[in-house]
Symmetry: C2
Subunit: 413 residues, 2 copies
């Protein structure tokens, strides 16, 4: 029997001795809380908070003094140039948030009404929502243990058995619909197995759009995530590695896609000294200058933040090394993860203890949370097509994010 | 023959004497430039710029210091409460911009795929775009001289002849589609004839959603615009009376609509300590806290800004009193306009001189612009249904917005 979390209230006031006779859940929770405390200390900690210790002030003041807080202003251009430089994408288009970036990237990837788009069931709801904004149908695919992202080999097998190619398009044999695109998401900042994912996209004629909302500062084989597909999307929400309040971006190496993305996200207005003529149905998705100003200052500090997050990972790694039944998520081989959210992965046999651990750690003042409810289990998406999701179903029961702010530790230089 | 605008370049360096032998266009342009200069002085002036002279600094600093720049933070709640207090709406829901506000208001008004929505042809493109985001079809209606907004009597006559009521729904006899909603827009801050517009909505079973993007601080018969319909929408873009960088809001007196609007604009996530469960297809439309902070400071200054804009109107009124062939747009009877954009209305016989006047005034350093290209003339909307648009077609040839910033004059108390 799992003890009530309230029994763990004592942990908050220092009784951290393992109490074996209360059974494994209590022991595990005790050890996890102790490990967290050994790294974080006695203070409570949120899951993730931004740090504003650079030029944020200076740039915001420049915005206000110039009165250019909105669509006009130099920080949007600079933020786009800085993002392109940091990621080595040829073009970056700043937008109002990561959801908007996904919406426009999918639209430009050709997703039309009725088209299916392959996305992980294990993702934040924005990935699925953005597909529906294009009139598309999310088609949920499985995730794998090693990266927490798309299981490419399982997907390949599924597509081989359930689709056919007609006129260069991938057709779902069951629904008869075009499967237009594949959207891998780099979960908690860990790159998916891009070589295999790209091979599937190529072999089945799927547009590849990377949802890199969580992976600014993450690299796959030395190249920044979000720059492998036709387009990639970033997010700078308040809980992300860097924050612009709300913000996002589209990355692409294709000049025409970048131009079109900028056009669509700025109401599709044609340039003219005074005429208001729009040649497409556009969107009010531009990033305000004031939010871009924050982004410019935040980007300057990103290398230091990434170093701090890696240091935090190492501290957690040492602290959790002796806790059996749990592994701390590490960056996949030949990858450099940003360690946006540090993640505990419970062993399969402890999958039923996730909620108890969540309650115990939150009761002890450490904000933790599970991964998202799988997309196929949400009411608005429950009837949409999906592959067997055994991998994601197992993972979602075993993932716990723990406090991950870059400010939790000072960087040791 | 209309002289080339470059001949008016002289105006910039002080040759403002009317030169009758060059004909009416030159004379009119000369007089308009002289009138503008008599109010604004020798400096150039943009069409509209925000003023940040209050607590903007203080509140932004509070945001940064608290690290609450994004979705969590007290300024969003306060901004919503302040907006409700200012407009006397029972509820205000802050969102990322005016377009998002319109999208969600129309969705909550029941606009579904294929439904028609009556909107003025003379409006900013956001009104039409938002209809399409719901899968709806904009159905363009005419505008009248007195308010620059919906011509209610012409609309009534049209609906009487072209629609029928079936099961309490207004059906377009030609297309067979439901006409679901009516969206009047308060052009440049001047309230439409709401009594007549509301009567049409009532009589034909149309949901009334007010596009009050331009009319924060405008009142119809003593009541704030945006509070007459089922919902009203506001915008705080950089060019608006107050600015949050980018921002908007939905106003409503209906508690359930307000709750639903908040839910839909915050990804439709159900409240829970850690679970991410969403029960509808939602949107990432929440206003970041940092933008709301700017909004709180701006709202505090709104009464002074409105006074300054009224004073500017009075100064323009005096300056343009002697210019024949042009009238300065005044607030409709029993209305109080915010005078967001001051507007010249050319007499019908001078409708062919609009572009010449635009060039001359811009050449002289005064930023002016025409109204928008009519929606039915834009490629994406050209095949959509419309009423006869003689009123809007005439107006659009004769409207010129002139510099309107509240900072152009100091308020005389």
């Amino acid at each position: 029997m799992v003890p009530e979390p309230c029994e763990l209230g004592q942990l908050q006031i220092g009784y951290i001795q393992p109490v074996n006779d209360l059974g494994t859940p209590f022991l595990l929770a005790t050890q996890v809380v102790a490990a967290l405390r050994s790294v974080i200390g006695e203070q409570s900690a949120v899951l993730h908070e931004p740090t504003f210790s650079g030029n944020e002030w200076l740039y915001l003041k420049e915005c206000l003094d110039s009165t250019f807080v909105s669509s006009v202003g130099k920080f949007v251009d600079r933020f786009e140039a800085d993002l392109a430089a940091f990621t080595c994408a040829k073009h970056a288009v700043a937008v109002v948030n990561g959801t908007a970036a996904l919406h426009i990237a999918l639209k430009l990837a050709g997703v039309k009404s009725g088209d299916e788009v392959l996305i992980p069931a294990l993702t934040f709801v924005a990935t699925a929502n953005a597909v529906t904004y294009c009139g598309g149908v999310p088609h949920f695919i499985d995730s794998e243990e090693n990266t927490l992202g798309v299981d490419a080999e399982k997907l390949r097998d599924y597509l081989e058995h359930h689709t056919e190619q007609r006129s260069g398009q991938c057709i779902n044999r069951i629904t008869g619909k075009i499967i237009r695109a594949l959207v891998p998401m780099h979960t908690f900042g860990h790159p998916v197995d891009l070589d295999r994912v790209m091979a599937v996209a190529d072999d089945f004629n799927l547009a590849l759009v990377e949802d890199a909302a969580e992976s600014l500062g993450s690299y796959y084989h030395g190249r920044h995530t979000g720059t492998f597909g036709l387009m990639g999307t970033l997010s700078f929400n308040g809980n992300k590695t860097i924050s612009t309040g709300g913000g996002g971006a589209i990355l692409t190496d294709d000049a025409e896609l970048a131009r079109h993305a900028k056009h669509l996200t700025t109401t599709a207005k044609l340039p003219h000294a005074w005429e208001y003529r729009h040649d497409e149905i556009g969107y009010n998705y531009r990033l305000p200058n004031i939010n871009a100003a924050l982004g410019c200052a935040q980007l300057e500090q990103l290398p230091a933040m990434l170093a701090a997050k890696r240091k935090l990972f190492q501290r957690y790694q040492a602290a959790f090394a002796t806790v059996s039944g749990i592994r701390l998520m590490e960056e996949p081989a030949q990858c450099q993860s940003n360690y946006w959210l540090q993640t505990l992965v419970l062993d399969a046999k402890y999958g039923d203890q996730r909620d108890f651990l969540l309650q115990a750690t939150n009761d002890a003042g450490f904000m933790t949370r599970p991964a998202w409810v799988l997309m196929n289990e949400l009411v608005p998406f429950k009837d949409f097509p999906r592959i067997d999701l055994a991998g994601a179903e197992s993972l979602v029961q075993r993932l716990i994010n723990i406090p991950s702010s870059s400010s939790l530790l000072q960087v040791v230089s």
